[in-house]
Symmetry: C2
């Protein structure tokens, strides 16, 4: 017998292969849901919304039925009993199956279906209400989604042994705890105000960087995004770039669908949006192919997912080194005065700090404040301490308090983000957890890869993404978030690397 | 009790509402499948194909399980027993449910799944093999699809009490019989050769119509298609126009997805392709909204579907009246010499007769020959009388015999159509059945609507589509094809109206 065959080899039990087969089917349905979701956001004509809601609700109910079928509980118990005879990936797969089963079994199917329909309807109304600055129009859908979400959170909390808010958080950040988030967010809230003031003062003391004159035609913006995405390593045989109201990375690992949104007056928002989503895309694409459509082959959670988008956008694409690479590319596409396409000018514009009302347009110094506000507000709403009709006021007061800006309208306030309308409660904290993980991972990558900044400046991204693939992407859900961060960086997740990064970039 | 309440009112039985609920769910899954199919053809990057095959196979298996669940047989028997207490639409719905159940119950789920996967894989290979003119590359997938299709045909034939070929035909043209098709096709084959010769001779005797000079930019071609689609009544709030290798009309009644394909040297192919698909789209869109996702709310079959696309393309858009409306629109978009945009020149170009190898580019005089060839070949292959490896020779010989043209390559021969590679066996005859129905319906519409040609020339399509909606679209699957044709036109389906139409247009 060859040596490779004598180690801990996966042994075929009766329960485990049957579970893999059932989860493969579930995974295929979830991929179908992901594609239909992309379609609704990127290409669907408005009149398709009601039918799409039916389609998604039906598929979600079927997925829920597959996952909460009574046999699954028996199969899981049997597979857990035989886990010692399985390999590490299979054992982790069982653990993730159990986690997914817990979430599903806690909630009756009709509640899932009601929420799915409410989400689709509410999202559709939001798409009209946002440009119309009409929170009142979006409110009934919002309230319905919140009401159903609270019901589900309560049911899941009982099954998982957590608070209702943590049960929602666990959907996006498995094992996420408010105690850790509170500690990390408090540390950030402690150093950030002073750091923001210092960064603004330093910025005010420098002359403004030269800026190119718009308008920047959308076709040219798209060309620029495609050129940089391709240089970074996005594989267009396995993905697309389209347009939607709220940029996102959807689709599947073999067919990644990115979106961004364009503003002719400002090329940077669309470009950085596309590069941010490219970070998500490369993670998705790098997930272990041999575990496709199995729970252990999925992304670890949204904090790690956001770490990959923020690592690319904030750590790489807003660095001085990247500006050196990108400036001539952008200059060739957009044309105009050459001093605006000087690498240092491009860099200085990319790291401009400017407190403002819109989260997705926020710089990385003020961004955590946007997240902390939403985290507080959604916890209060889930707890029943804040009524949706009081949300606009609370939102605007909170932003004023945190970064000194009061949104001038609900479009710039509570209507700006899709999350609550689309039912993604408990998602927001993962953005800032992601920023912390990104800073810590990038510091480790810099230590591991000689001359990383110089490589980036030459447009060489292979070594960085090889490191990320090995340490993050290809791990799928084998490890917990905490284990993954510690294995990759040698330290528990903290705020030190993030603070150091901000101090170096904005005060160094 | 008001009089309206004393008639045959739908009474709620225990079985019927449960069937409606189950078929609603099935309908939603089928809509999801339709959207994913559109996506694969129109926007999916090539690397997504394997995952898409998994998604579609899984959804098709689930649809098949829902349809062939043992309870369905019991519910159908119960509902049929209580049918007298139901309304006409409900009774027709039960009849259509029974038909669908028969097709599903005849075939084991693993065979459905195997065919679904084989279809996706074969279609993907075909997409590469066609431009590469490489039938050998496509052959293994073709053989696998054919083998599985024959297995399924045999199983269904037993359940339906038909021949295997008729069992396949029944999937597209419910109740379709080769005896009727043979009779109609023989009638066509009888008058067509002489008519074709006469039309060619008459055409040769006239000076050629002035033609605009290309190239015709794709963006302008798209603008022209959108402008005419909108004038005709396509509702862009409920549909889109995109591009694919093989033009088709997909999506759902509330979200109709058309495609066409562009050639810069020739604007007419893309334009007529889009208008042809618009005919399908208006049918789909006009299906009875109150029966969405129920079998009786679906299109009657592919012969009626094709009748709607051919009525718009051949009867309307290639008429002299339509040329009068469209010529100035096209002239304004494409520009160039004005004599090429003279209405009579546009009309004469649209009705040019030109025997050629490509079915989708064929004029309406030679088109039936393309269909008759494919009908004969696919019957022979299903019967096991023709091996796929012998198909290219048989195809080329057959076309030579029927219209005097031998394809110069397999790209112009057996690789040109997606149908066999994508598993749509038994579909081809519906094109010519559709042409016959179209001619008969349009003759009836002309008799019913005063000044129809003048309306078309003024760009007024409302009366025509109101007539079609009332007589065809809104009927869904209430009537059989034969009943529908007879109710709308006062006569059984025949070849007389088609022959009269050709004689008037090409020899009149």
């Amino acid at each position: 017998m060859p040596e490779a065959m004598t180690g801990v080899m996966p042994v075929m039990t009766s329960a485990y292969p049957e579970l893999e087969e059932r989860f493969r089917r579930l995974g295929a349905i979830e991929e179908a849901i992901a594609m239909l979701h992309w379609d609704a956001a990127a290409v669907m004509p408005p009149g398709g919304a009601a039918s799409r809601a039916e389609q998604l609700a039906t598929l979600r109910v079927i997925a829920h039925q597959l996952l909460s079928a009574p046999e699954i509980a028996d199969l899981l118990a049997a597979a857990e009993g035989e886990a010692n005879s399985l390999g590490a990936w299979q054992r982790a797969n069982i653990r993730e199956m159990r986690r997914r089963w817990r979430h599903a079994a806690a909630v009756p199917g009709d509640l899932i279906e009601a929420l799915s329909r409410a989400r689709s309807e509410s999202e559709t109304v939001w798409r009209q209400a946002r440009p119309a600055d009409d929170f009142a129009a979006a409110l009934p859908g919002f309230e319905r989604v919140l009401g159903l979400t609270r019901e589900i959170a309560t049911a899941k909390a009982e099954e998982l042994g957590t608070t209702p808010y943590e049960a929602l958080l666990d959907q996006y950040e498995p094992g996420g705890k408010v105690a850790l988030i509170d500690r990390l967010f408090d540390e950030i809230a402690c150093f950030l105000p002073e750091l923001l003031d210092a960064a603004l003062a330093r910025q005010a003391a420098s002359p403004a960087a030269a800026a190119p004159r718009g308008p920047f035609p959308i076709a040219a913006q798209r060309r620029a995004a495609l050129a940089l995405m391709e240089a970074i390593g996005f594989d267009f045989a396995h993905g697309r770039l389209d347009e939607s109201a709220h940029p996102f990375c959807g689709g599947t690992p073999d067919d990644v669908r990115l979106t961004t949104r364009y503003d002719e007056a400002d090329f940077s928002t669309a470009l950085m949006g596309a590069l941010h989503e490219t970070g998500h895309a490369l993670y998705k694409r790098g997930l272990p192919a041999e575990w496709r459509r199995q729970p252990v082959g999925a992304a670890r959670g949204m904090a790690v997912h956001e770490s990959q988008s923020l690592l690319l956008e904030m750590q790489v694409c807003r660095s001085r080194a990247f500006a050196g690479f990108a400036a001539p590319v952008l200059g060739a596409i957009f044309g105009g005065a050459s001093e605006a396409w000087d690498a240092e000018a491009v860099y200085r514009r990319q790291i401009a700090v400017q407190p403002g009302p819109i989260r997705v347009d926020a710089d990385e110094v003020t961004y955590p404040a946007h997240v902390i506000l939403r985290y507080r507000l959604e916890r209060a709403m889930i707890a029943g301490d804040l009524a949706p009709c009081d949300l606009p006021g609370a939102f605007n007061d909170g932003l004023k308090e945190l970064i000194g800006i009061r949104p001038g309208s609900d479009r710039e306030g509570v209507l700006q983000d899709i999350h609550w309308y689309d039912g993604n409660w408990g998602y927001f904290p993962t953005y800032t957890l992601g920023a912390l993980i990104a800073a810590q991972l990038f510091a480790a990558a810099r230590a591991a890869i000689p001359g990383l900044a110089e490589r980036i400046e030459r447009g060489e991204f292979a070594a960085l993404f090889e490191w990320l693939r090995h340490n993050v992407h290809a791990k799928g859900s084998l490890l917990s978030t905490a284990e993954l961060v510690e294995a990759a960086t040698g330290a528990a997740l903290g705020t030190a690397a993030f603070e150091r990064h901000l101090r170096e970039r904005y005060l160094g």
